[in-house]
């Protein structure tokens, strides 16, 4: 078969309507003829667009639920088999990334890892509880809902992080050099910031970590927390302060913490001025 014979039936081939013997000939021809191969590509792209022309039908109800149920089950099975060492891996990636990357990307990297771990944990917890729930007590159902809501929120944050490289600043640690690092990162399109810490020592008995937002002399307590395995991951509601905050600080204070803006910080950062 020469080129012109091939061109005569190339559209039929692309539509899937060539006879078996023609199909074989076209295939062996285009394997060696780049011009016809190119022509075939065009014909196939045209044919594939035709699939968009079909009359639209409503998808039967219930189909989504069935497909999602299968997907969910498979995802749960996967998670059970590949649980664990995200935090360990994260620690390595944090250290090596710190050498070459800017603060924002390190924050995003670490944050994504921590979040993924959280999501995985929450989802497995969810699965575990779902399997217990057969007897259906309301309390268990509520916990399943809470776990899945939390996992959804974490997933959503993860998606927002994956999407853009988030701006971020490193919070300066005061006093002696310490292994701990604290980062503050925020999304440009929402009113939410995040404090991420690593290698933060457990708060001594009777002490508590607090995150504060401030603007000049006004401040607002954004969160109190205990680091977990050295990490923290704290969403910060920027509307906690009535005016636009200009900085963020971390304190370690006696239990109960401060109720007024503290005068010294364990770590702090000024936000870059708005452009």
């Amino acid at each position: 078969m020469d080129c012109s014979e091939v061109r005569d039936i190339i559209d039929a081939y692309a539509l899937g309507a060539s006879a078996p013997e023609e199909t074989a000939e076209i295939e062996s021809h285009v394997a060696e003829c780049v011009r016809c191969w190119d022509e075939l590509g065009r014909a196939q792209r045209t044919a594939s667009l035709l699939a968009l022309s079909v009359p639209m039908k409503g998808v039967p109800e219930g189909l989504e639920g069935r497909i999602m149920a299968i997907a969910r089950e498979e995802a749960a099975l996967d998670k059970r088999s590949e649980r664990q060492p995200i935090l360990q891996r994260l620690r390595l990636s944090w250290a090596s990334a710190a050498a070459g990357l800017g603060v924002a990307s390190i924050a995003a990297l670490a944050f994504a890892g921590v979040l993924q771990a959280q999501v995985n944990d929450l989802r497995s917890e969810n699965d575990r509880m779902e399997s217990q729930i057969q007897g259906t007590t309301q309390e268990l159902e509520g916990r399943v809902r809470d776990a899945s809501d939390a996992a959804d929120n974490a997933s959503a944050l993860l998606v927002s992080l994956a999407k853009t490289s988030r701006p971020g600043v490193e919070m300066k640690m005061s006093g002696e050099p310490q292994p701990a690092s604290v980062l503050y990162t925020w999304s440009e399109d929402s009113e939410e910031g995040l404090v991420i810490c690593e290698n933060l020592e457990d708060a001594p008995e009777g002490m508590v970590y607090q995150v504060w937002l401030w603007a000049d002399t006004v401040g607002a307590l954004a969160a109190s927390f205990e680091p977990e395995d050295g990490y923290c991951l704290l969403p910060v509601d920027l509307t906690a302060l009535a005016v636009a905050p200009t900085g963020v600080g971390l304190t370690l204070l006696e239990s109960g913490g401060a109720s007024d803006l503290p005068d010294s910080w364990l770590a702090y950062a000024h936000f870059p001025a708005a452009e």
Binding site: S48, S53, L63, R72, E74, V144, V159
Partner: protein
């Protein structure tokens, strides 16, 4: 249990198809659901168009979506856009299914008369499609309906009916040469009319 994943429309809705497909590699159920919301109608309609049976079409939709869930890597942006990849995978699988069934089934369910009855007039509204997809669909339907009727019918019997040129010639009681010419001319015109769409596919 009720569903445990409700994609945040704002967040997932903003992600591109490629980004959602990437999220599937980490088993993100909400990303999967978002893709389903975007394309289930299209996939169902394409498979229904070929199979003409709601149950078979449903099974096929399930197969197609679980395939991307299990093997998101089987799609590569190099192969064109996700939309056309998905619909042509759906169409191809449906045609395979039709062909693997016996002839009797095929002739009962996809006779030229019925095929013709099924050809809807171009619709103006496509609820359930993204705006971009609805636009693209309008362009393609318009191009298809600008063809002389015998060319359009022949192309549709080939692509959606899963018939070979020889079979179409027999069904329509036309010489094989006539069927070949209709396909060639019709496809050439479509290629010209859809040049901008084809460019999108390639980029």
């Amino acid at each position: 249990m009720t569903e445990d994943v409700s994609p945040d429309e704002g967040l997932y809705g903003d992600l591109s198809d490629e980004e959602l497909m990437q999220r599937l590699t980490v088993r993100d159920l909400a990303a999967f659901r978002t893709l389903y919301a975007r394309y289930s109608k299209l996939v169902y309609s394409a498979t229904y168009r070929v199979l003409r049976d709601a149950h078979l079409a449903e099974d096929m939709v399930q197969e197609v979506f679980l395939r991307i869930w299990r093997k998101p890597d089987s799609y590569s942006p190099m192969r064109g856009r996700l939309t056309t990849w998905l619909t042509s995978v759906s169409r191809n699988r449906a045609v395979d299914e039709v062909r693997s069934r016996n002839r009797r089934y095929r002739h009962e369910t996809a006779s030229p008369e019925e095929a013709e009855r099924e050809l809807a007039a171009p619709e103006t509204e496509d609820p359930g499609l993204t705006a971009e997809l609805a636009d693209q669909r309008r362009i393609i339907v318009a191009a298809l309906f600008k063809l002389p009727e015998d060319q359009r019918k022949t192309i549709e019997l080939a692509y959606f009916g899963g018939f070979t040129q020889q079979e179409i010639a027999q069904m329509l009681e036309q010489p094989l040469g006539t069927v070949k010419t209709r396909i060639r001319l019709g496809m050439q015109k479509l290629r010209v009319a859809l040049t901008p769409e084809l460019r999108l596919e390639k980029s």
